[in-house]
Symmetry: C2
Subunit: 427 residues, 2 copies
């Protein structure tokens, strides 16, 4: 049996999961893959802390990542350091040294794709399944299973923290702040949750998904991104009454006019399968021309789910090292044309409860060619200063027009508080 | 660029889809896979009928499948004839000739796995993704993405016809026969629908899924199989009221006592994602030890969805032919130990509406150690001869005990009509 040497850099949560699986399942992997996958090197700055995976053979540990990257017995370098500083040095120097690199680092690959892909032969030597949606084989699924398809659109719930928060807000009728605290206590949210709740993590992932699906790269900073911090319980409840769930969606659609790529809270029709993806789970809904609609669902984070995807990549990397052959890859356009897209909107206004208000507002919308599909005004939720919530659903409209109309509406004296505007995604 | 030669046998619905994709997407495939995939040979008994895919080059057509299988330029034989007679000869002789075989034929592979796998090097030269769940990469997902996992259980909605019928019965409040007729008119059900509605097609698929997930082969004839022909609208509605959907499930679970494999209608809790898989769509829910819960969803049938999976297999087969390397496979146990499993049950009885009936029935259940979790008896649905429906939900119980209790209950004079017994699958 041919063998392949692996070096793991980063012995944190995921790293320890990968080490545990490689050591304890070596024989299982050999019988299934026909390869002896040998963990030859493990690097971290600190080995004193107990990782809860039992004993690791001392002779394979090192504190110097350069030793791993320079070790001629190491075929595959697994980067699990995280961040974009040392990790970037590790990945670039490993690729330059001819190693095959496996990483779970979405920030690194999405922010430095151009640099990394130029060294990694269009990414043929880079495997990053674990960086998007944890255990779920979204990259393998799109590249290999859909190899003959043209992808039309991707709609992802790719951040478990946000999905947990939105699900809990709705189910427990609690506001964002309270649920966030609960999520932090449960370990579903970081102490500083901004990467997740501001949508940045989702932007990293949708950047990678567009790269592999359309061969088009958009830097995360250029992806219009809105998080969930401004989603209120009230909106979840109104949306629910109207037959929608609110989800943080990562969207990439290929249109004639260009690529539309974005991250934002969205109203999803409750009968659509994505609306039923709850809690910390992730899912990616893919529309393509031959296969039609498809969805991949599973755990997007956690030690062993993520390690499962890393090991799957190690197996593919091992095959590539031992037998060669091209990976399924596309040439990448690093400056694709982008396009906005029309959509329907949910608009919640806090208005003074007096005659003529609706006429004023609908007048402004009409002047900007925003057509109203439905209106809901109830007396139940009467607020301070004689205000009531007014919910409007628009027909399809260009985002620019919508924003302009909204600006004008915000300035009306009958409109109190900041309006809430959420896209409806009709899948 | 290295090229690989393909011969397609069977120019029906799927065959024409595959031919169309191979011809029209040859360049796209080459750019993505690094292989020139050449359709060299196309076999059918009849080429006069228009397949609706435009012109096929006459020089590649033949009516003799032996020419395809014997053609030294053909690396990959794609069997899309269907059935288990000629198709079996084709697959076996192609494998013996050293070809790599791609097939969408679940009946053939599941019924003759032992013979086929003994020639095909444990199936390393046989690719059959398209035979289970059409476009959805369930085999690739389990074998490759979950390569380091031990699978605990599989729960599949793997027959689109049945799922369409059950969904429509519930949504339109119609009985089985009427919906079946409608499905036949829409092309979702065959003229002779028995393979689908009797659960046989699902048994073929779960046989293959267990083979690849557990390395355990059970002939479809040995899989306890119950179709949907006895599911009544009433049961869908009662289940709905209690928070369940009824789905035809293909189940395979690895237990300490053995493999539990079966096909039957089941009550699935409505908050579970599988309960939201509606219409002709298929889904496979997989529980494994590292990755945790995962679900694959998509189109399980149809020309292009199935052809999409066939082409994905052709690409993998091409890699194998050109570069070699073992596929992810497990040794197969062809006579695994089987085990039944305890479960909760939904039981609907038609009873005479008079005092003491419930006491009689619960007495029989108690005598067989069947414990009742809930009872529902309503006056609304009063039937002929002063009968009413009585719905019982049991706690977990061994199937044997349940069946014995049921036999005794059926014989009671207060019980009219055949009792309806449906498993509850708690996922």
């Amino acid at each position: 049996m041919r063998s392949v040497g692996v070096g793991v850099i980063g012995f944190g949560t995921i790293g320890a999961g990968v080490v545990k699986l490689l050591l304890s399942r070596r024989r299982l992997l050999a019988s299934r893959t026909g390869m002896d996958i040998r963990l030859l090197s493990l690097c971290d700055r600190d080995f004193s802390r107990d990782r809860g995976i039992g004993k690791v053979p001392g002779e394979i540990t090192t504190k110097d990542w350069k030793k791993v990257v320079g070790d001629p017995r190491v075929d595959i370098v697994v980067e699990l350091v995280g961040g974009t500083k040392v990790a970037k040095d590790i990945v670039l120097s490993a690729l330059k040294n001819g190693k095959i690199v496996v990483t779970a680092n979405k920030a690194l690959v999405s922010e430095y794709a151009e640099e990394i892909f130029s060294i990694g032969r269009l990414g043929e030597n880079l495997f990053f399944e674990a960086s998007v949606c944890g255990a779920i084989p979204v990259i393998k699924g799109i590249r290999e299973a859909l190899v003959v398809n043209r992808i039309h659109g991707l709609y992802g719930i790719v951040n478990g923290t946000c999905n947990y928060i939105l699900t809990s807000m709705f189910d427990s009728a609690m506001e964002f702040d309270a649920v966030l605290r609960q999520a932090q206590e449960l370990g579903y949210a970081e102490k500083d949750p901004s990467l997740d709740v501001e949508g940045i993590d989702s932007a990293h992932k949708v950047s990678l998904l567009a790269l592999i699906s359309f061969g088009k790269y958009v830097h995360p900073d250029k992806i219009p991104t809105e998080g969930i911090t401004r989603v209120e319980l009230l909106d979840l409840l109104y949306a629910g009454e109207m037959g929608y769930r609110i989800k943080l969606l990562a969207v990439a659609e290929q249109r004639r006019e260009g690529l539309d790529i974005r991250v934002h809270p969205a109203l999803v029709p409750e009968e659509h399968l994505l609306a039923s993806v709850d809690g910390v789970f992730n899912a990616l809904y893919v529309k393509s021309d031959s296969a039609g609609d498809m969805m991949f669902y599973g755990r997007g984070a956690g030690r062993f789910p993520t390690a499962s995807a890393v090991v799957s990549d190690i197996v593919d990397a091992g095959r590539r090292r031992l037998w060669g052959g091209p990976q399924v890859r596309s040439a990448v356009d690093f400056s694709p044309r982008l396009a906005g897209v029309e959509s329907r909107y949910y608009l919640r206004l806090t208005v003074v409860d007096k005659p003529g208000v609706l006429a004023k507002i609908s007048g402004v919308l009409g002047a900007h060619s925003v057509s109203i599909a439905s209106v809901q005004q109830t007396e139940r939720a009467k607020g301070r200063n004689n205000t009531v919530p007014l919910i409007l659903i628009t027909h399809e409209v260009d985002e620019g027009k919508m924003r302009k109309a909204l600006e004008e509406i915000s300035a009306l004296d009958v409109v109190k508080r900041e309006p809430v505007l959420i896209r409806i995604v009709d899948l």
